[in-house]
Every structure is written in structure tokens, then in C-alpha cells.
Point group: D2
Chain length 300, copies 4
Amino acid sequence: MPYRYLFFNDYSEGAHPRILNALNKANSTQEMGYGEDGFCAEATRLLRAKLDNERAQVHFVSGGTQANLITLASMLKPFESVIAAATAHINVHEAGAVEATGHKIHNVPSLDGKLTPSAIQEVVSAHTDEHMVKPRVVFLSQATELGTIYTKTELEAISKVCRTVGLFLYLDGARLGSALASSGADMTLSDIAQLTDLFYIGGTKNGLLLGEAIVIVNPALQENFRYHLKQRGALLAKGRILGIQFSELFRDDLFFEIAHHANDMAQILSRGIEACGYTFLVKTPTNQIFPILLYAPVQK
Amino acid sequence: MPYRYLFFNDYSEGAHPRILNALNKANSTQEMGYGEDGFCAEATRLLRAKLDNERAQVHFVSGGTQANLITLASMLKPFESVIAAATAHINVHEAGAVEATGHKIHNVPSLDGKLTPSAIQEVVSAHTDEHMVKPRVVFLSQATELGTIYTKTELEAISKVCRTVGLFLYLDGARLGSALASSGADMTLSDIAQLTDLFYIGGTKNGLLLGEAIVIVNPALQENFRYHLKQRGALLAKGRILGIQFSELFRDDLFFEIAHHANDMAQILSRGIEACGYTFLVKTPTNQIFPILLYAPVQK
Amino acid sequence: MPYRYLFFNDYSEGAHPRILNALNKANSTQEMGYGEDGFCAEATRLLRAKLDNERAQVHFVSGGTQANLITLASMLKPFESVIAAATAHINVHEAGAVEATGHKIHNVPSLDGKLTPSAIQEVVSAHTDEHMVKPRVVFLSQATELGTIYTKTELEAISKVCRTVGLFLYLDGARLGSALASSGADMTLSDIAQLTDLFYIGGTKNGLLLGEAIVIVNPALQENFRYHLKQRGALLAKGRILGIQFSELFRDDLFFEIAHHANDMAQILSRGIEACGYTFLVKTPTNQIFPILLYAPVQK
Amino acid sequence: MPYRYLFFNDYSEGAHPRILNALNKANSTQEMGYGEDGFCAEATRLLRAKLDNERAQVHFVSGGTQANLITLASMLKPFESVIAAATAHINVHEAGAVEATGHKIHNVPSLDGKLTPSAIQEVVSAHTDEHMVKPRVVFLSQATELGTIYTKTELEAISKVCRTVGLFLYLDGARLGSALASSGADMTLSDIAQLTDLFYIGGTKNGLLLGEAIVIVNPALQENFRYHLKQRGALLAKGRILGIQFSELFRDDLFFEIAHHANDMAQILSRGIEACGYTFLVKTPTNQIFPILLYAPVQK
């Protein structure tokens, strides 16, 4: 390979200027620690409004792997397991973080990074007694790790099968902004909140220095959640810095503005690569594109 | 109780202005993710110089509980345990974070928050076979959770007993700045590095937005450490924000300047409270003071 | 020490002849595996009758540490903890088995190996928020590890405080036979079942080759328990061998007969040692006696 | 389904008469507890002779899931994982026992229940950095869960790839007797010991009441193993009952005699079913046969 092309990604720079500005402005205000400050309260208020759900619980953490391992561990008894696509972040790129909390992940083969109701049903049907784990949570990523997205119809169908067979539905939203802002998108944050039990909204890859907002919709999963945060080292002493950033992100439509911009830039890049004759692993409407550059472009 | 006095603490505000300024300045530089950026490399270089140890491994994480649970889990086999004072942060204020990784903590009674060589030796002597856990790590805090500090002679004695009986010595430095800058202090960062196997330098409570620097001195503990970080959700995508802050903190003596200031303010407060006739739980030279205010002051 | 006296203990021989005989007799009967056989069903029926509780769930496992780690893990959420005497078997002689399932054990100092309602209340009162673990189970041993026993009045008082503050009460009955058969005893198996949420009846130290019977009284703790057994490696393929033994043990009063004999022998030994002028760590009515033999007997 | 055929299995009865007889005979001998008795020492001596390896460490436990979870946990650091066939017992029929100790299992698709060097190599090659787990142990079953067996050539090839890339090779021998005694077999116990790092010899499914013999060949894995046994609840107080049984099993060739008999009976059954026109999932030389009986036999 004579050349190596390095495409930087959605976390190669710092924060959106408005985010940094908000941190600068709030710096000398005195507040309580560990997320019990006024900024986190304000961010929660703004998010609940976007979600059309006043009873959703909101918690802010530092990163996506942290969000995944804590929420999943909080939903599971020792013998319960998680159903996820084989390409899911928790299955391949979290160094066994979920297993380290004691739980098995089923890895369902998937060409486009997406799960289907029938694949979920199949895993459930295959686990019938105490010699096997008991599937309890379905893990989805929106956008998926391949950059594809679930349509509203697809998510509704998965949500329905989960409620029918008694599974919790969890959505990893590390790139939820990009998904919601993509050309094919037909969902709102409020839709996500209605169709899932628990999800998180990614900030790190959408303009923040760091931060993900965990949203617990299902009341049965809300009790004592801060114990889980503390136990896994996720309760920042200056939790305010997450509240400040998320307040700014959801004060108006900055969250969507940043996501739209990222998608637009990816599409420009995508069209350029396509024009050079390269193909892609899958077609994606989001800011993740996977051109296959190993070989010379196909001659037109 | 007709009145409630609320004394804010060392994490009630944002960052030291120079720290924020550094974040602003570095914001649009493009860097690799997950701590493999130039800022983290620079911070490591600066820290190694302060430590007089070019082979120390340095890793940056978000908070103290996270630092403790990851480092301890990385040092222990499943049946090994940690010796700590009953008042140690890991024993009382981390929601069972260390036990959640599978390990027992011995809690040694202590009036001043400090361990002694004989107390350590006693725990070791009481654990003789496979029906019991096997003590493997000694956990100290400097400053302790009560605000007291170990002298160099005391730390040398503990270090010696650890090396003699085959224990790792780990130092929780959440408030190491305050300890090193206190009036009674007789140690440098380099001394700490020589006497321990692994420790961390607290940034959150000494001027940063967030961040602790884990220093692995013992080469036997360095291998594959980044796997532990990733698995516990501690590898920030934008790890650069920790590198930027620690570079600024150790570029010159800002770390010590902030700590001196905190100690000075605490001593002013301490003298004022004392003048009013109140007593203290223990006498401390650091920025943690524990006046006993429940009752009326003693009449002079 | 010129002489070393080796007193064999309650597990130095095989099984009571009637137990072995039952195993011989049932050997060629064909049965289902994993505890779903007719012998386990029969043992359950016999035990429920002794307990005056038709809805108690009964499970048979191989040993005491196994029983403790599985039942405690089944009762606890990740951030919940166990209150136990400092001398409790789970605290000192199980190689960190409970912590290995992720949970902290509070060790309450105790001179006679027993917990008190006020000591329990004190631990609960000291744990007030999510920076600390949340106490959830009280662990008692009957007889205790020192050979002492709880009276009915004492157990009632502990049971009451547990129900008032929302704790589960768990009783380790490795030596329950000896306790129930001791001179000071004022309780029946039925009393134990009424005052606790979950307990186990020790067989290994009361005449069996191996085996402990876990009794789950509280219906809230019964669901899916066999998953916990399987996951921790406790579901024997030939679970029948536990059913056969426990059926024989509780078909009539063999369980109590063996226990009475053990206590009687211990008391003879005890009186002899006392007559020689030695003193004891504590006075015990059971088959555990702890004479202090290090030095010459006190001259009369 | 108008008819239900129930074929009992290799654990539907008690023990081989010689085993029970040995237990009867040894019953009143007084011995030390927890596996430190003369019978366990004798069984170890007999096994080492069969293995041609005087330095192999031998430990006796109650069951296969217990053997698997303890040995694997003892070989792995928190971030390390196990490579196994998708059909492996640890992957499907142990209720997540290995994950409950914190470790991921890779499930490699396999039609005949067997792993191949290239499949192993592929998993290793796909795991390149700390964002992923680090494969460390290869798990094989001999016979496999489908009743097939590895030939000596196959096991040598797998052993070689493991040693080349730095993986431990672990063999689950729940049905090792049946494998070694099968018509296609070309290996001895000594071959197994030379080609693996650690394995266990199944007793429960080969004539014992209960019991598996863990053999640790690799000296690097021997240290402190009894701590692991104790911590997971596997150290029986009357460990003697495992020693007595294994001594009898390996005093002469009873182990192989029982296995031969089981294989012979299975082959008779197999030929009968085949004669009726039914086909099999896979052809197996051992005592596990999987005829497909759902539909009417194929007409000849």
C-alpha cells in the first residue's frame, strides 16, 4: 500500500464554539456537585420538553461505552442476556465491557447492522430453560455501527415484539443526532422515547467536549439509577460540565444543526468518492460512510 | 436545627481560568481519538519530568472512583484483596465500586484515616490459606479522607513492608496537590513515584473541569492497561481534553499554585472557626477541615 | 509447641450408615437429571411438612459456600450489600466468594458471633445516599461460627427490624441441626421459616456425604432461582443424590438424632477439657467448642 | 405429537457398583477435609501415572459447569476472552456461567461442533487493539457436544496454532471417556496432557455419583488454584468422596470399561434406528447420537 489516507472523524476536534462559550460563561458559578446542580436540572427540563415526556429520567455521563455498560447492567439480573447485532458496538468495540458486568450478549448476524423482529423472536424461542441464559434486553444502535438507520416502521415493529415477549428495548444513540437529521429520517426524539424503554443521546460525536444523556423512559427502570452511575465511576464531581453543555445543545436546535452539517459534509465526500468509481460497504444516509478503497477504482 | 450552613467545596466551581483558556486555544486542532493525541503525549512528557521517571506510564481518566476501580481491578487476581483504612474512600463512598469488580476490601480501623505498617502486617498474617482471600494491594489516600497526611518517613515504612511481604502499594491522590502543598509536607511527586507501584494525581479537585492522571510506576503493572480503561468505559473519544488540561497544569507550577491557594483559604477558615470556640474532628494541614458545629461553641 | 493435638471435626468421616444405605438402595432407579427427579420431589415434600409451609421452595446444592454465594447474589442488585458479623463465614472463610459476585459485606464487630437489632439499624442509618452501597440483606449463622446460638426472642427481634427497614433476612444453617438440637434451643424449623426470608439446612456437617437444602420462604425471591443455580455451577447432573440423602435425613428424625449425638459428644469433650483447667473462647451449647489450649492449664 | 419417546441419558442412574462399593468401604475412615485427604492424594497419584506426568496438578470438583467456569476464570485477565464453537456447552448450556465471571466467549460457527486452526487464527487476527477483547483461551470439548471427536492430528494442529499465537488450550472432557474409547479414537490420556494446558476428565457421565478431575498441565496455571476453587464454592468439606470415586475409577481400567460399554450400547441403538430408516444430525462414534425422529422414516 503505497499511500495511507487518514480521514479524521467526528471526534477529532474539540467542541462546537457555542458549547465552549457556555462553559466559559458558567465557569465561576458555584453549584452542588455530582450532577445535582442547576445546569443539569436545566438540561433535563429542556430535554423533557423535546421528548414530550415530563416523567423521563435524565442522567449525564462521559462516554458511550460507559452509558452502555451501566444501563445494561442496571436492567439485567445475573442470568439475563442482551440481544444485539453481531456488528453492535457492545459486541465488538467495547473490550467486553458488558460481559465484565456479568452478562452474555447474543450476536445476531446482520448484513446492514440492523436487527429484525424475526431475528429477535428466534433468539427468544431458542432459550427455553435455566440451562441457558434468559434474553431480557434488545440492544439497537441508531444510527447503526454501519451508518444505516431504522425507519419508524421498523422501530415500531421491534418495539412491538419486545413488549409482546417481555423484553426491554434499549437504543444506543451515540450517533442519534446524525440519524434523526439524515435524509431518510422519519422520527423525532419523542418517537424514540415512545418506542423504547431506555436510550441515550450522544453528545461527544455531535459537538460536545464529552457527554451522553441517558434517558430512562420506563418507570420500572428509574429507581436507584444513580447508585449504578456512582458504582461504575460515572458520577463526575463537577457534573455541571455535562449539564452546561447539554443545556446549550438543546436550548434551541443546535443539536440538529450540528448533525445536519455532519451529514451534509459526509454526503459531499461520499459523492466525490463515488464519482471516482469506488463502491461502498453499504449505502448510508448518515455521517458514517465506508468506501472500499483498497483497490483501484472501477473504470467507467 | 434552625440554621443550615452550606460550605461549598473544591468542586463547586468550574476550572482555573488558565485551564479553560487552554481548552479554548486548542479547540480546532485535529487530533487522534482515545488518548492517542499530541496533547496527552505532551502531558505525559511533562509529568514524567516532574516524576524524574521516564518509564512511568501515564493515563488520563475522568474521575477518582473510576481511577480507583480500574487500577485496583487491573492489579488483582479474582481471589486477591485490598487493605485499606475503614475510612478510605473505596470503603465508604464509592457505592461498592471495587467489590463490583469482584474484590474484597479489608477495612482497618483508624482514628486519623491513616494505615500503619503494623496494621498492614496484621491483616497479612491473618490470611494464611485458600479459605480466605489473599491480600495483594495496600490502598492509601494522600491527603486522607480526613484531611491528614502521611509524612515521608511514614510512607517509606509502609512502602518497605509492602515490598517485604509482596504487596503492591497504591496511592489515591484525589487531593495529592493539597497534600504536597501543605505546611507539614516533606515529599515531592518524585518521592511518591519512588515509594509506590501505582498512584493517581487528582485534577478535578485541583483546578480542572475533570481529570485524574494515573501513573503506573511498576513495569509489571503496565502491560495492556488500556484494555482495562476501555472495558470500564474510561477511554474518552476526545481524550485530548484531558491531555490539554494536564499539559497546562504541569507546564509550570500551576498544579502547586492552585493547591497552595486552596490550603491557605482553608487555614483562614479554620482559624476563624477555632476563634469562635469550635473544635475539629482532627487537625489537618490540607484543604479539608472538619469542624464540629452541631452544638454551641465552647465558652471561653 | 512440643505437642500438636489434632481434633477431627464434623466432616472428617463419610456419611451416616442410613444415608449410604439409601444411596445404595436407590442406585439403579432411572430418573430425570438436574434435580428434577422423584427423590428431590420427595425430599421437598418431607421438608415442607417439617417447615409447616407448603409454598416454600426447596433446592439442593453441594456445599455451604456455594449456597451462600448463590442465594446472596440472587437477592441483591449490583449496588446492594450484606450486613454480617465480622466473624461471619462469608466475611472470613469463603475466599471472597460473595465479593466475587460483586457485593460488599459490612463487617459488624461482635464478641459472640451474633448480630443485634441495634447493630443492624446502625449500618442502615449510616448508608443514606448513592455514594454508598445500599444494605439489603442481613446474614446470620445459626449456630454462629463461634458455636453460639440465637434464641427465639433474639431472632424475632432481628426479623422485626429487617421487616421494618426493608431488609431480607438470610440464615446460614450449615450447623442448623446442632443449633436446633442444643440444650438452650427454643426454636423449630418452622420458626426459622417464619422468621426469615431464605435459609439453608446443612447436611454435609450433619451426616450426609454432601448437600445443603436451600429453603426460599419469601415468594418474591423464588422466581427463576434455578437459573442462579445453573449459572454458578450448582445444578448437579445427578441431582438425585442430594434428593436421596435429604429424603432419608427427614423421613423421620434422623436429622435431629445425628445433631443431638454430635452435641452430646462435644459436651463430654468440653467438660473433660474444663476439668483439666482450661478455659474457652465462649461458652457454647452446640458441637463447636473453642478451648484455649496454647498454655498450661490454670492450676486449681 | 401422539407419542413421546423418552430416552434416558448417561446420568439417569446412580453410580457404577464398584464406585458405590468403594464409598461404602471407606466410609468410617477419618480424614482431613477440603480435598487434603489420603483418597484424593491416591487418586492424584493414579491419574499422574495414567498421564505420564508427575508434575500435573489434579483437583476434583462436583460438575462440568463448575469445572469450566473456575478453570476459565483462573486463566483470564478481565479483558481476555475465550474462543469456542457456537455449539460449545459454555456458549449455550451453562446459563452464562463464564460471562458471569466477566469474560466474553467468541462463538465460532461449526457444523460438526469442532474448531479448526484457521477459525481460531481468524478470531485472533480480528482482535487487534484495546477497543476489543483479547482472545486468550481456546475451548474444545472432546467428545464435542454433537458427539463427534477430534483426531490426534486435528488436536495437534490446534495445539500448535495455540502455542504459536500465545493462546492457552483448554479441553472440556465431560465425555472424554467416551471419546477415548470410541472406535475412531487414536489418543491416550497422556496425549491429551501433552497437547493441552488444562483439561478435565468427566466422572459424572462415566460412572460416578458426581465428580470431575481437573488436570492442570501448564505450570504457569497451577499457582493458587485452590483459591479459585474455594471462591466459587467448589471445595467440598468432604472432598474425600471425590477422591474415593476417582481412585476406584483409575485403580485399573474401570474408566475405560464403562466408556466402552456406553459407546457399544449407543451404537446398537444407532444401528437399530438407522435400520428403521431414520437419518442422523451427524455421524458420531461416541455415546451421543442425534437421530432425527420428527418425521416418518424414509421408505426404502
